[in-house]
Symmetry: C2
Subunit: 248 residues, 2 copies
């Protein structure tokens, strides 16, 4: 048998999106996902189940001991998205991945890890050597990039002072839709990382790429949101290939 | 009792979005919804349950007798979104509203009608008089704008020839992510409506505003996507007001 019966035009798998962290960052992720999908009409896009969950407490605050844990809200949303019919889960928020282990053990579908996606994208670049990490203080302290990056990676992060005066205010400005202010702050933080030796910078917070869209920095910038979108398209497409193979 | 217990910071109601018609138009809708929400942090945004449904057959083709009916797929998705927990439904696709009656009777939550939202926005403009309708041939033939607009509205629509050479190719170009080509085609269609007397034009297809973002037309353009986003924010906020009133 060389063809499938009753199949849609393209047999993409259904992707679940645990979103709203922040809301604009989820929209940016969806935009990059749709634009990365090789579709000529509505019917050739990937089926998505998306939840914007404002009930999830602030992740960065929780990691610094300044707010309630988001874990129960993250797990509840992930379980609901699996029950809705998603076949994998993505979370377009780097900091939320500090609770990856708790979320992944509460569901049976896989999670495409944003840090792995960003690291794969970064390693493709010839400048991958000394890596600057632009991220929330919570993400940096949680060590999720450092742990998944492997021992060969030399990391440079912003100083406590830079986090406090540039990075975190820049991220909060994006969440409040003040993109110009955010760009100015984050550009200064990126320049400081380059000054200290970063040859490539991972924008390891999904708010940051929106603000730095038009910024000029002397080293390549890796977009964790865009990398996750690319990983989604590849994962959703893989089903078509494997199903075709299985019915031959 | 003057305050609620265990309430989130802002008691927005949950909005369900039946999306993917097309995919980029749904992203545009979500972007406008998020930007229209008066939020200073993630927790102040509206909870959303969004489905991108590529399984829905082409609406415009169906209305012209050139393809299968989308009604069963639309109803199935609407029912699923209600079951997920949405308290109202929006569909950022004008043409799909030709099946509004079938969808609304299959669920118990209200649908915020995109045509009503667009007409409210258009009537706010002093130029609301002779109204040009830029939409799919299916939307025009279905009469959804003409029926909901009332007897006082004088409508001008594109000719069959204009629909065939400018409007429908323009809409299909957006669905295939070719925005510059779409802008050129749709601008010609809009100019023809103005030439025939339109004093205001409703962009009555959610693909059109994305392409016409930077177009210059001699009359005001009403964005049905943006109007639906505004209606969503107002509807989601209304709960906070009514709940506060009910617990006094």
């Amino acid at each position: 048998m060389s063809q499938q019966l009753h199949s849609p035009p393209i047999a993409y798998r259904t992707v679940g999106v645990l979103g709203g962290m922040g809301a604009l960052a989820t929209v940016d992720f969806l935009n990059k996902l749709v634009l990365a999908t090789p579709a000529a009409c509505d019917q050739e896009h990937i089926p998505l189940l998306v939840r914007f969950c404002p009930e999830v407490p602030d992740r960065a605050d929780a990691l610094l001991g300044c707010g309630p844990s988001p874990v129960s809200a993250l797990v509840a949303a992930a379980v609901a998205i699996e029950q809705d019919g998603a076949q994998c889960l993505v979370i377009p928020c780097n900091t939320a991945h500090a609770w990856y282990d708790d979320i992944v053990k509460s569901i049976t579908i896989p999670i495409l890890h944003i840090v792995d996606a960003a690291l794969i994208a970064a390693r493709r670049d010839d400048s991958f050597e000394t890596v600057g990490l632009l991220a929330t203080t919570g993400t940096i302290c949680s060590g999720i990039y450092q742990q998944r990056g492997g021992r060969d990676v030399c990391w440079i992060t912003s100083s406590d002072d830079e986090q406090e005066k540039w990075v975190m205010p820049g991220i909060r400005a994006v969440k409040a839709n003040r993109l110009d202010e955010a760009a100015r702050l984050l550009q200064m933080a990126a320049n400081a990382l380059v000054h200290r030796g970063a040859k490539i910078i991972i924008m390891g917070c999904t708010e940051i790429p929106m603000a730095m869209n038009n910024c000029t920095v002397d080293v390549p910038l890796v977009d964790s949101t865009g990398a996750l979108a690319q990983a989604c398209v590849a994962w959703a497409s893989a089903k078509a290939v494997s199903e075709e193979a299985s019915v031959v």
